[in-house]
Point group: C2
Chain length 108, copies 2
DNA sequence: ACTACTACAAAGTACCACAGAGTAGTGGAG
DNA sequence: CTCCACTACTCTGTGGTACTTTGTAGTAGT
């Protein structure tokens, strides 16, 4: 699928949040997960900026742990604020998708 | 619904395209239509920049007509390239929404 | 050494928001 | 009759945010 960049604005952060909500994980693995899911063009650099933002906004807790196969990993987990933000994200997502569905079917 | 700005990036243009595909229309009316649909914060300025872009990219044809209740309106209609772009937009939209649905249900 | 794994920073781009200016017609106050 | 207010309508400049690109750099196993 060609360039999804613009369409991912504002949603990629929510996706990362959802992935972290599922399990405590780290940047590199999150990137791989997104790639698997079909967001093949997402690279580490993108994910790290999102993670930095999440941390700055106090939505996640961070723990550094040795990896055994490379440099230490920084594991991220959602805190309460993060779960609330995730809920808000899904609410917005549903709102937007429902309006667009309506538009598409020519709804009034 | 609070700030949808970021989530609309990359989709608003497609919405405008879809509206124009439905009927030949003009900027002000498109804005009102989007507002009705639930995108209440979208303002004229935003729509005009999109229309300028569509025209520059050769996706629409333009016709200026007197209005009777104000300055002349610029009516936009999709051309063949515009219809193709719209089809690509929906394909991307379906792709993204399906991947996100998968992510949400914890799909592998 | 080489490769895979992992984190990060800087510069660039695209899209939308905000705010304001400017044009055209209508209806009402004086 | 003129001026003003109001609505409809278009256009432009500035700015913010998020994602991309590109590159650096460090750790550990083969």
């Amino acid at each position: 699928m060609d360039d999804l960049t613009e369409m991912l604005k504002g949603t990629l952060e929510g996706c990362v949040l959802e992935i972290i909500a599922g399990e405590e994980t780290y940047g590199y693995a999150i990137t791989r997960r997104l790639n698997e899911l079909g967001f093949t063009d997402v690279v580490e650099g993108t994910v790290y900026t999102i993670l930095v933002r999440l941390e700055r906004n106090g939505l996640v807790t961070v723990a550094k742990r040795p990896s055994g196969v490379g440099p230490p990993r920084k594991f991220y987990a959602l805190n309460e604020a993060g779960r609330e933000e995730l809920a808000r994200f899904w609410a917005k997502w549903e709102y937007v998708t429902s309006r667009i569905a309506k538009l598409r079917e020519g709804g009034r």
